[in-house]
Symmetry: C2
DNA sequence: CGAGGCAGGGAGAGCGCTCTCCGCGCGTGG
DNA sequence: CCACGCGCGGAGAGCGCTCTCCCTGCCTCG
């Protein structure tokens, strides 16, 4: 009820009210060392009474920990439009799942994520500066393009960082990833088991390791079933690019009876094109996506897809980062997750 | 090139290298007061040489500004699933646009957003504590449900905050919003002009002001064209809820020839149901969405929709907040944006 | 019964910055 | 020629915490 009229209460104030020293109040709050039960209660009462909340800046200053980490999305912004890159990636349900997984884990540890976009050199500098000035204890990096220089820069600056997905350039840094090859194999086997004999693939950008792995995994699995050749069309992980790719595939290989798209958004685009050309899904052409993100459920027919445990992966990434923050010497580590096939109507 | 072996350089170090006092270096960095040109250059050289980056915690401690704000998404999490709420909202392209707009503005001011979810009482307390302990200078609140107690709590605690959308409960707080009624009128006029005479609406949750406004705006405009009655079905702003609503509408009013959905996601769901029932869009039933978010472009036919300038609104919200942070006494203010009709194929 | 150990509380030194106050030196007006 | 003003740099006091060190008092063991 007592409204603080001017400045918020400090440790000192609480200590005075409780009749103890600052150190004791600090010990009660942080749970360091033993404090007498009785006194603990008195202190807690004083905290409630004063409405005390520890000042984070002051704490950070001495502990050299900020209790926040940077959640960085990096990629190449189109030179023209300003926010286009940010809008695209934040609107991608895949990123939404990453963010959700990260938050879900961090909140259990009292750590907060600062959202940053690194789409220009200037922005990358900002991220680095942010970390160097101790505003964040480490970085979680979701990179969308292959030549991203940020991982190397982070390693060089000896800043704790963990990536979502293996970096395209070889950099000694921790990351979480999916067994993309296994996921692609799941899709291939399902398609073949269904009776598809003329399968094609819509890939992601082929300079990204995940795209490569999904493609080679698909090719290998399909080859093992005696299908030596797989037509492909490269997309950019967006619905629009999926449409373009499907159009091309259909034009060049009209006999296709199965399509593996490297993510759900592209599968969604492919589906629209398939409909437009009068191909029934899954009867004429079976279609499998990747990710199991929300569009998979909105499509008609709903998408059979390879599920990535994105939230778990994101949580794992956050956990890895906090480990590195706590123990700076830790060696880079990678954690690989297993995909699963979710069978719906499209294949 | 000189790698700092132990601790990062401080102001003191820079001052020593430059041969001046700490105060002078501080003045150069912050551009407060006049400093001799010559000395400025010497100081800057020293900063470069040492690789100095000002410690944010130390600065915050004395300025009482953190240079970060909280970007809060509040809503009611389903008691069962943990991250379900976070995943849903972060996967919503609408929120992606909000985040993008906020970031785009904040980066011009050197302020960073901390992402927070307030889906439980505990989480709300965390947000309040975060602000009270000075970790963030204010809050940007995107609320997804009507009974959100957070706005009132923020006002009560005298913490700077700005909402995206007018609060359902009357609270003296700043917000940005869209002229929803005008947007709905745009949709209504277009439908009628097309020749639709039996129009229906799929609304958002009717305890949310935006949903109410879109509905009444639509009803009023349509009434002005001599259509006295509009069947409605309430949805929850998700694609799945749009499907359910459309099913019901079709069952109860088979003669419908025009539908206004209160957002694109629900329109997308409605479209799938319309297809399923063999209704051609737009020939048999014209369909208009709201928002102009990415799903509008993925649908076939692509959605005619009411565009919200979400990024601009988000940027405006951020600007408003920084104003309030800089001038604590400022009175609540609201900024209303104008919608626009984007005509595509669905109507 | 005395010495040593240990549980538990207090004092005080910073963490790295900003900002007020002070002082120096120069220019100017009476 | 002196007093005053002004431009500009330095000294030093904190901001609100944590944490090391010390001190007190009680318990235990020889």
């Amino acid at each position: 009820m007592s409204r603080p009229p001017t400045t918020p209460p400090t440790l000192e104030d609480v200590a005075r009210v409780a009749g103890v020293s600052r150190a004791t109040v600090s010990r009660v709050i942080n749970g360091t060392r033993n404090v007498d039960r009785k006194i603990q209660e008195i202190v807690r009462a004083a905290i409630d009474k004063t409405g005390y909340a520890p000042n984070r800046a002051a704490r950070s200053l001495v502990t050299k920990r900020s209790g926040t980490i940077a959640l960085v999305v990096s990629g190449a912004g189109d030179p023209g439009e300003e926010d286009a890159f940010a809008t695209r990636v934040f609107s991608d349900p895949f990123f939404g799942r990453v963010a959700s997984g990260v938050l879900g884990f961090l909140r259990t540890r009292g750590v907060h994520p600062v959202l940053m976009v690194a789409d220009t050199e200037r922005a990358r500098e900002d991220v680095l500066a942010f970390l160097r000035q101790g505003s964040a204890d480490g970085a979680l990096l979701v990179s969308t393009h292959a030549e991203d220089p940020l991982p190397a820069r982070l390693v060089e600056a000896e800043l704790p960082a963990v990536l979502f997905a293996r970096p395209a350039l070889p950099v000694p840094i921790s990351y979480v990833d999916l067994d993309h090859r296994a996921g692609a194999k799941l899709a291939a086997d399902h398609l073949v088991r269904r009776g598809c004999g003329r399968v094609a693939a819509i890939t992601g950008p082929l300079d990204v390791p995940a795209s490569q792995d999904r493609l080679t995994g698909f090719r290998d699995a399909v080859a093992r079933h005696g299908i030596p050749y797989v037509p492909i069309a490269e997309g950019g992980f967006t619905a629009a690019s999926g449409e373009v790719a499907m159009e091309r595939l259909l034009a060049e290989h009209p006999g296709i009876d199965g399509v593996f798209a490297a993510n759900d958004l592209m599968a969604q685009g492919a589906l629209a094109v398939l409909h437009k050309h009068g191909r029934r899904v899954p009867d004429d052409v079976a279609l499998i996506g990747f990710d199991d993100s929300s569009p998979a459920l909105v499509c008609r027919p709903r998408l059979t897809t390879v599920r990535q445990p994105v939230e778990d992966m994101a949580a794992g990434m956050a956990r890895l980062l906090l480990d590195h923050v706590e123990e700076p010497g830790l060696r880079p580590e990678s954690v690989i997750f297993e995909p699963a096939l979710v069978v719906r109507e499209s294949a």
